[in-house]
């Protein structure tokens, strides 16, 4: 099962090191393949350097793609993280 979802980066400083670390932490135990696509570049979301490479600013929109056995659960966790600005003000 492949799920895709469009999300917006809401953090004021963009997707900097701290939220990127949190994403990788969320994905650590997940068994699905997770990708982020931004401006035609698709990266593996389990790798922190790949996420940082995208240098996402506030309000940039990315497409999350999740494929695998725990896709639904993983997607929910990720979307929740993005919406809650990963716990930042």
């Amino acid at each position: 099962m492949k799920l895709t979802c469009r999300v917006k980066v809401k953090n004021a400083l963009g997707l900097h090191t701290r939220p990127a670390t949190l994403i990788v932490k969320i994905l650590q135990d997940c068994r699905s393949n997770v990708t982020f696509t931004y401006k035609n570049v698709t990266i593996n979301a389990k790798s922190i350097l790949s996420i940082l490479m995208l240098a996402l600013r506030k309000n940039s929109t990315i497409i999350i793609g999740v494929e695998g056995v725990d896709a639904r659960e993983t997607m929910n966790k990720l979307v929740e993280g993005f919406n809650s600005r990963f716990g930042e003000a």
Binding site: T42, I43, N44, K46, S47, I48, L49, S50, L52, M53
Partner: protein, 318 residues
């Protein structure tokens, strides 16, 4: 989309470009990585004229235009500069005819002056455009140069790609990019890998964090880009799986339509991955020099089993 602006910003200095008219059209799109000397087009013959190419005016074109009467000159240039032409470049710093400047302003088409001679300009421009237009993808993996061989280490997250690369760097090999590699298909059917501007020369090691390899180990341990010669896929050791024990069969992986030899390397405690990677790279070099260890050994074995005469006969038959 690739714009004239991109070309000017990235390569303007290298090509010695100076914009002299049609500045408002700097955001025109370049759709094909081609440049063209109009030559025959200036005589009015525009059948199968390539519309989308950048036009380059050299000595002949300028001289020919000078010989035309002003109304004809205007008419011919007007026909030549279509709505799809991205830009016009005049080589050797020639003074452009007035009509060309006016037309470029009117049509909002950038007109550049270059100091280079026409043939140099044409070849350099084509080369740079091809480079920028080359197919590119980002690949999850780590690219290291081992004994001059570009080794792309792939595998699932946390299988130990970065740790293996770090071990290789420590032994004097070079890192191109960790975790995310930009792969570009180059002319002549080979792949070139490089790192992203922001993250190149950095590594993420679990338990340590992000480190800068160039600062830690020195500039000698990093490289900006390298051709990808082999892929080594690291895998968790699986007792059920039958691994290649002899190396007679070649496996390939297809990236952007280019076939790259691939090795699958199972990882388990006690296996020195760094040493194995070095061996794979060396073996690849040896194969490049025309020596295949597995085939050579197989040959010796058959010679022993069949006897020299029968073996030679068999070789001739196949």
């Amino acid at each position: 989309m690739y714009l004239v602006e991109d070309l000017y910003k990235r390569h303007g200095k290298r090509l010695g470009l100076e914009i002299i008219a049609g500045k408002s059209g700097i955001r025109r799109a370049i759709k094909v990585p081609e440049a063209h000397r109009p030559g025959l087009g200036l005589t009015g013959y525009l059948k199968s004229h390539a519309l989308k190419r950048i036009l380059i005016f050299g000595k002949v074109e300028i001289e020919y235009l000078r010989d035309l009467s002003p109304p004809v000159r205007l008419e011919r240039l007007d026909d030549l500069l279509t709505s799809k032409t991205p830009a016009v470049i005049i080589a050797r710093g020639y003074k452009p005819p007035k009509e060309l400047v006016t037309l470029c302003e009117k049509k909002k088409m950038p007109l550049f002056l270059a100091s280079m001679i026409t043939m140099n300009l044409l070849s350099k421009l084509t080369m740079l455009l091809h480079e920028d237009f080359a197919l590119t993808i980002t690949y999850h993996g780590t690219l290291v140069e081992v004994f001059g061989v570009g080794v792309l280490i792939t595998g699932d997250s946390s299988v130990g790609k970065s740790e293996a690369a770090l071990g290789l760097i420590e032994r004097g090999h070079r890192l191109i990019s960790d975790d995310v590699v930009r792969v570009k298909k180059r002319e002549g059917y080979y792949l070139e890998g490089s790192g992203a501007e922001l993250t190149k020369h950095h590594m993420e090691i679990r338990g340590i964090g992000i480190i800068n390899v160039a600062n830690l180990y020195g500039a000698v341990c990093v490289r900006d880009s390298k051709s990808i010669d082999i892929i080594v896929k690291l895998e968790q050791w699986d007792d059920e799986h039958i691994y290649d024990r002899f190396g007679l069969e070649d496996r390939y992986n297809d990236i952007l339509g280019v076939k790259i030899p691939e090795h699958i390397l199972p990882v388990k405690p006690g296996r020195d991955v760094v040493l194995l990677l070095e061996t794979i790279a060396l073996n690849h070099r040896l194969k490049g020099m025309g020596y295949n260890s597995a085939k050579e050994f197989n040959g010796k074995l058959l010679e022993k089993i069949l006897g020299k005469r029968q073996y030679t006969r068999q070789l001739k038959e196949h």
